[in-house]
């Protein structure tokens, strides 16, 4: 009987979180991207559909639904169909382990704010999933049977290998400080602003940030879809809602990366000041709401940062990208681990 309730609870959470995050965050992300890019280029941006053009992304998706779905004759049909599902599915499933607020006590039952936030290998799970996500892109590139798509897919996997490494190593610093792989534990260690990991790990933070740009295929590292060289990269041969899925996955990925950066370096759902300053009780619903809003705000700021960088920095060349990954980020990540170890050893 118990197991059914637990499953039901997880299901309800999953539906709520997926709807909220995927539909809302991805749509808002698309909207924000168009608005910010417009502002940077002295334009107004979409303002016709809904107030401030807020419904524009829904109109876009609706349009994509109406479009003809073309599959090239020479494509591998099965994989061509599966690839966008993998990409989007992986982008969503990372939310399984992300905690959105502190545990809430109602009566004598404790509810966790997240699908499975207490998973003790949380961050490993995230790393594993994000690297599976690249399969979607590589498969898309390969199965399209188009030279540009293939190049995009190959680039994506090469990029993944060279950045996953420094990303993982940059993380090690945080894990050493927290002493745990569980995201909840990492967050609860950073309860006030001066205990946020970004203060102890400035180098690690920058390394992680740069790698997440590469990981999410955003400019300046959007080589898999580099328009001027590769037409559309891995999604050249996609149309209609399949293209839409890649499109949504990009924004879902961006939101995911932002969430992980916030969790690891900016205190996650923890308020920047001690919670009693607001007069809210530990475990109360009001506090959870405040923490949730706080978490979402932090994510929004980071998403804005992602967009802002995209419209500022030009794309790196492929060899520059590889040089940066292997010759700069990797040694620096190792150095960061060393420095953290020395720091912890001295402070002990």
């Amino acid at each position: 009987m118990d197991i059914i309730w637990i499953l039901l609870e997880a299901l309800i959470k999953a539906v709520v979180i997926l709807n909220l995050i995927l539909l809302f965050a991805a749509a808002l992300g698309v909207w924000a991207e168009r608005k910010v890019s417009a502002w940077i280029q002295n334009r107004i941006g979409p303002n016709r559909v809904g107030p401030f053009g807020l419904l524009q992304p829904f109109a876009d998706v609706f349009k994509l639904f109406m479009k003809e779905d073309l599959i090239p004759k020479a494509a591998d049909k099965t994989f061509h169909r599966i690839a966008p599902i993998i990409t989007l599915g992986i982008a969503i499933s990372v939310y399984a382990v992300i905690p959105f607020a502190d545990d809430v006590k109602i009566g004598d039952k404790i509810y966790q704010m997240g699908i499975a936030p207490d998973l003790n290998i949380g961050i490993l799970f995230v790393l594993a999933l994000t690297s599976v996500g690249v399969y979607g892109i590589t498969l898309a590139g390969w199965s399209s049977n188009n030279k540009y798509s293939l190049l995009g897919g190959l680039r994506s996997s090469a990029q993944m290998i060279s950045y996953e490494l420094s990303m993982g190593l940059a993380l090690v610093g945080v894990l050493m400080i927290a002493g745990s792989l569980s995201l909840n534990e990492i967050v609860s260690k950073q309860d006030v602003i001066w205990r946020w990991n970004v203060i102890f790990q400035p180098l690690g933070f920058i390394l992680f940030l740069v790698s997440s740009f590469a990981e999410t295929n955003r400019t300046p590292f959007d080589l898999p879809e580099a328009e001027p060289e590769l037409v559309g990269g891995y999604n050249t041969e996609y149309s209609g809602m399949k293209f839409g899925m890649f499109f949504l996955a990009e924004y879902a990925n961006m939101a995911t990366s932002s969430a992980i950066i916030v969790l690891l370096y900016f205190g996650g759902w923890q308020l920047p000041f001690p919670a009693d300053w607001l007069g809210l009780q530990q475990g109360s619903i009001a506090l959870a709401v405040a923490q949730f809003i706080n978490f979402m705000l932090k994510i929004a700021i980071l998403v804005f940062f992602f967009i802002w960088v995209r419209w500022t920095v030009p794309r790196f060349r492929y060899d520059q990208l590889m040089n940066l990954g292997w010759k700069v980020l990797l040694p620096l990540a190792l150095l960061n681990v060393l420095l953290t170890a020395v720091g912890i050893w001295l402070l002990k």
Partner: protein
């Protein structure tokens, strides 16, 4: 100065090689751009009115006592897109001839302005109309009823032609 360092990477200073300070600078620039005035024109509400030099839809000049065109057919002859069809007829007025039928197929017209240039009577000129929408091919063939525009509305263009033609 002789440039001895042969690759760009060798010419950069240490801070430039770090990328990050330069990127931060660039981001400062884009951030400031966000608050600058916008250039966007909200088109259907804010209409753009061109000056006399604009080449919009070609129209026939209509004076108080009738059109200027004498149906010489030069415009039809010169039109590179074969958009104009003229059929001449006789009239009692001084000019003796007038176009019985004058049609411009706006789906063919490329707005080159040759018809205007070649016309001996300054009877066909380019107007300021640019929002041309048709729902069928037949509708896009404009007859005399749509082409004749009173001279008072074409002063800008006539003035421009007088100065620069």
């Amino acid at each position: 100065m002789n440039i001895r360092k042969n690759s760009e990477a060798e010419r950069l200073s240490f801070w430039e090689k770090l990328y990050l300070p330069e990127i931060a600078k660039g981001m400062g620039i884009t951030f400031r751009q966000m608050f600058k005035p916008k250039f966007t024109r909200q088109y259907p509400e804010e209409v753009w009115i061109p000056t006399g030099s604009y080449r919009g839809r070609p129209v026939l000049v209509n004076e108080d006592d009738g059109e200027r065109c004498v149906a010489c057919g030069l415009c039809s002859r010169v039109c590179p897109a074969l958009a104009i069809e003229v059929q001449a007829a006789e009239t009692d007025r001084d000019k003796e001839r007038y176009p019985e039928k004058f049609e411009i197929n706006m789906l063919r017209c490329i707005y080159c302005g040759f018809c205007e240039e070649v016309c001996p009577e300054e009877a066909i000129v380019m107007s300021k109309d640019y929002d041309l929408v048709f729902t069928s091919q037949e509708e896009a063939i404009l007859g005399k009823d749509k082409l004749l525009v009173h001279i008072s509305k074409l002063q800008d263009r006539l003035e421009f032609l007088r100065q620069y033609k």
